[in-house]
Amino acid sequence: MNKVLIKGNEAIAQAAIEAGCKLFFGYPITPSTEVVEYLSKHLPKAGGTVVQGEDEVASINMCYGAAATGARVMTASSSPGFSLKQEGMSYLAAAELPVVVVNVNRAGPGLGGLGPAQSDYFQCTKGGGHGDYRLIVLAPSKGQELYDFTLEAFDLADKYRNPVLILADGFLGQMMEPIELKERKVVELPVKDWATTGCKGREKRKIASYALTNEVGEEHCLAWQKKFDSMREVEQRWEEFETADAEYLLVGYGTCGRIAKSVVLEARRQGIKLGLIRPITLWPFPEKGLAAFKNQVKGIITVELNAGQMIEDVKLAVECKMPVHLCSRQGGMLPSDNEILNFAAKTFGWSLKEGV
């Protein structure tokens, strides 16, 4: 077992190398910068190339070009930089190009702050760029998942010919944790018989995102939606923690999902039947995971580092069959486990024992 102590951002970068990522295009921004720094140092040794673009717009469009050749490519940024990548995200989705994009969410809006936040949830899950497209959004909650999910993201991107997003936050990106470096599982993936590599010995190929005839345009849109529907059906992922007999649920992803586990344990110690659903894919949102509790629990609290964004998806998933409340911190602050437990007690009328 090969265990190393590295920063979350470095775990992402190392996983990209293991996944066979050959090209990385980036532009530094805190708290994601270690991804471009680590790869600048290590990717060339692994036979790859790192180009520091003039900005995020260039970087994502460089990814577009490299992905068009069938190569495995990645870019990473943080909120303001991710905003600049939105034009490219829309084009990548429309041109059906597999690219892995990392957004280490910092606090926003505007230049905001450098601390952990989940304020890009809407932008990441609802398509921050123009048009009707979807991305698989993976939400790791610890170093090991940053590594494992990045490994898998490349396969998911190739499987669906679609950009895949890793959405972490400044806390996860900056924290050092022991991580087991695993080898990539070899999975069978479709052949890239669409890549533009020079047409010697075959018919010419072209990759474009446009159809200016409405009839053809609709055909494209329907084909994309069919693909997005299949992702929605197959790729919903979530973790359940103490849910079997749960009367109340916390729902939180990433860092919040992690903190929420301690809350559940403390509540259980106090005899309160609290459980946790931790979404792993934010799109497709784990509707199936939540729908199962529609008639089981009395109330839900979403724990978020924003003003309440995921809560909308939670309400939809449970069809508003029970009250859904928001426990949140913003601007780079994290809630403590006590803070969440006290909020839940107040909200649901639990009486807590001393010492909490």
Binding site: L23, G65, A68
Partner: protein, 250 residues
């Protein structure tokens, strides 16, 4: 009957969609001929812009990728970095390369990115209906400069090749025109050199081609050529602005 002229293998059979008299077609043909003569059709990936040339990906017989408005050179960078042994070129209007894409235009040159860019300068945004471009001449009327481009309001036109030529990473920079048979021959030579410079790995190559837009200029095709000669050629520095020593010797 002996066939004395035929379509170059560098172009597909598809008829051009450009307006009658538009010189985009001549420039396409020159590039197609160069690709065929250098025997690189199978080893080339082109990048199409947004604008009238947005459909050029159907017209050239090599592999092609369609980019977002202004991003062709960033896309070309990605392709070239992934396939360093292939030839990669972008084909862009002046609006694409000198307005929305300026940052990329400067930085591919600054990096000495080993790609070739063809800039088609018709002094307007063609596709969107003849608005002012950074290349629009002072006093020139467009739909967004209806009283003529005003220096106080919009500044003088940008001579992009001249700017690019100042950057060390730019290996070859030329400004040519396709208004006459003589100039068309010179334009082809420059385009060929721009691809050869890439083949030799010398760095970034840019060829700006003065082109007409009869539709938006509101002139006949012949008058358009005359207008280009009388108004654009005196403003834009013409000829080979930068030639690497390796090429001069050859």
């Amino acid at each position: 009957m002996e066939q004395v002229f035929k379509r170059t293998a560098g172009l597909t059979e598809l008829p051009f969609h450009y307006c009658p008299g538009c010189t985009h077609g001549i420039i396409h043909r020159l590039i197609g001929e160069v690709l065929a003569e250098l025997d690189v059709i199978g080893d080339t990936v082109g990048v199409a812009p947004v604008g009238c040339a947005g459909f050029s990906l159907d017209f050239f017989s090599c592999d092609f990728v369609g980019a977002a408005h202004g991003r062709a050179q960033a896309v070309a960078t990605g392709i070239k970095r992934a396939l360093p042994d292939k030839l990669v070129f972008s084909y862009q209007g002046d609006g694409d390369i000198a307005a929305i894409g300026t940052a990329h235009a400067i930085h591919v040159a600054a990096r000495g990115e080993n790609i070739t860019s063809i800039m088609v300068n018709n002094a307007v945004f063609g596709m969107t209906g003849g608005q002012m471009a950074p290349t629009t001449l002072l006093g020139q009327k467009t739909t967004t400069s209806p009283y003529g481009r005003d220096k106080a309001l919009s500044g003088p036109p940008i001579d992009l090749p001249k700017t690019i030529a100042t950057l060390e990473g730019a290996a070859y920079v030329a400004a040519v025109s396709v208004d006459s048979p003589k100039n068309i021959a010179a334009a082809k030579k420059a385009i060929k050199r721009a691809f050869e410079v890439q083949q030799q790995g010398l760095g970034f190559a840019l060829v700006s081609v003065l082109s007409t837009c009869p539709t938006n200029w509101g002139l006949s095709p012949v008058d358009s050529l005359e207008w280009l000669r009388n108004n654009m050629m005196p403003i834009y520095q013409m000829g080979e602005l930068k030639v690497p020593a390796e090429v001069t010797k050859a």
